[in-house]
């Protein structure tokens, strides 16, 4: 392992620098990138990758536009808002086939569908408000029918909200909910009309035009990283925790298992390969957002997604 790192660093001497802004702090959600970095998959492809962690006040798209990074990992709404503002960015792949955002409620409340939200207090991060509006709309409700609250999981446990949005992959935070004696109910945005993908790889349009081969190489390496993590979750977690020692291996392992089985590798990757993005789904999402008045009606999937990189790479089908 030491030898490969050494090899990597000597290879880095002639390799292309590439900096990547992650969407959040380093954790299981970016294990593919970390494994690719640590096992030299980037170096093998002539890339000298720097992974930059995100945070609550980091803005990946702005980093991209500012030129401090070449690739950003981000979410669908960010891409739509940026494109809506005519900012020259575009997505070219997505690590997560399904956006995980799911709304949790305790079993006692008997909230079985979005329709049951009427009159309830719905909590989520502020940035998820458009998603909430969209799924309400999809189910024939509107924001007036609920009380929206910016909240996190503990608010549910404190009975400050009836429903809270969270990523099921954050098993640690959800543990008190999932172990609730009265059980719990979930509504995911995916099942309720918002078929986003998540953890999109985003670049500026000029980068996509001029450095397509670098982006393709990057996608290949990340693919290799995630495939390794799927095959060897134990070893991958060891690599991750060695890279970010503040992480708890058990909690990350639980999260990884959910991600791999539910979000990163799905029926669609089986058919189209890792990182697949569906243009139809993009168009559908855009239409939903146009319907609720969040974005301009002239937007099409071509404004937010460019398939050239995915077309040029043969990614793992599993």
């Amino acid at each position: 392992y030491a030898a490969s790192a050494l090899l990597g660093s000597s290879a880095a001497a002639h390799s292309e620098p590439l900096s990547v802004q992650l969407s959040w702090l380093v954790d299981a959600g970016s294990i593919g990138e970390v494994v690719a970095l640590q096992k030299g998959y980037f170096a093998d492809r002539g890339l000298d990758v720097e992974l930059l962690p995100g945070g609550p006040t980091a803005n990946a798209i702005q980093e991209l536009l500012g030129g401090t990074v070449d690739i950003a990992v981000g979410y669908a709404p960010q891409i739509m808002y940026a494109a809506n503002n005519k900012l020259p960015i575009i997505s070219f792949a997505a690590t997560f086939q399904k956006a995980p955002l799911t709304f949790f409620s305790l079993g006692e409340k008997n909230i079985m569908s979005i329709k049951d939200w009427k009159g309830m207090r719905i909590g989520s991060a502020q940035s998820a408000l458009p998603q909430v509006i969209a799924i309400l709309d999809y189910n024939g409700l509107s924001l007036e029918d609920i009380t929206f609250v910016q909240a996190q999981v503990p608010a549910l446990l404190q009975d400050q909200v009836d429903v809270v949005g969270a990523w099921p992959t954050n098993t640690a935070a959800l543990e008190p909910v999932t172990s609730n004696p009265g059980g719990y109910n979930t509504q995911s945005i995916w099942d309720n009309g918002l078929q986003f993908q998540s953890n999109y790889l985003i670049a500026t349009k000029p980068t996509l035009d001029e450095k397509a081969d670098l982006l393709a190489a990057y996608l290949e390496a990340v693919d290799a990283g995630w495939s390794f993590a799927a095959d060897n979750p134990g070893e991958a977690i060891d690599i991750l925790v060695a890279y970010a020692p503040a992480l708890n291996p058990e909690k990350e392992r639980a999260a990884l298992d959910v991600m791999v089985s539910e979000y990163v590798f799905t029926d669609e990757t089986m058919e189209y390969g890792f990182g697949n993005v569906s243009s139809e789904r993009w168009q559908q999402t855009l239409d939903t957002y146009i319907a609720i008045g969040e974005i301009d009606s002239s937007m099409t999937h071509a404004d937010v997604f460019d398939s050239r990189i995915l077309d040029s790479v043969e990614t793992t089908k599993r």
Partner: protein, 277 residues
Amino acid sequence: MTHTNSTRFAGGSGFAGLRERFAAFRGGIRGLVMAALGLAIVLLVWQAIVRAFSVPVYLVPAPTDVLVALYNDRILLAQNAVPTITEAALGFLLGNIFAILVAISFVYNKIVEDLFYPVAILIKTIPIIAIAPVLKIMLGNGIEPKVLIAALICFFPTLVNAVQGFRAVNPQLIELMHVLSASKTQVFRRVRFYAALPYAFAALKVSVTMCVLGAIVGEWIGANTGIGYLILQSMYVFDTPRLFATIIVASLMAIAGFALVTWVESRVIHWDPGENF
């Protein structure tokens, strides 16, 4: 830093006093012009840089872009200023009143002071912003957590300053009251209270700015309105001019609060706190 020349150099007090008054007078007219000029220069340089290097507006807007945003979004900004001002003002009142009450209890009970004043100084070093999320979970979603964060930010500086103020009484005045067999309450109401006022106002001037920041941070962790919400929201939709405009509104709020406290101080403290008779 409330040292005035007249305190430090009691010898030439009449002289220094006059000189200061002249300086203040000059500052009043020439100073204002110069300050405006200085601001203009800074804004011009900023505009020139943005234009010369054609920095894209979503990165750093030019002052003119920000001005346009200030004008276009004036209603939005005003609407969102209201909750923030409310939270900041309530937090300011709550935090400072409570701090002064605690400081008074310290004056009356030396043992309580010896026990808890050091703890207060210790807690003062904790970055309130870091515990904001925890407070929010404890207090729910309404206005309470924002007010509490603003109050907490005010509380410790004012407490420490008020205690200092209550102690900073001319010891001879205390001896005089003792010779007159005055009670503790009489000493407090006739002497310590007034002696502490300049210190209290120094703290209030700091905390009025801090409590605006407290309210903004409170809104970051959960709000649908307010300046803090608008900052996040503008950032999220890449409306940088509006982001800057919002930040300007935040700093105007701080300046207004500061001016208000200074004005109240000038009404309340009609004597020269630097002098000693």
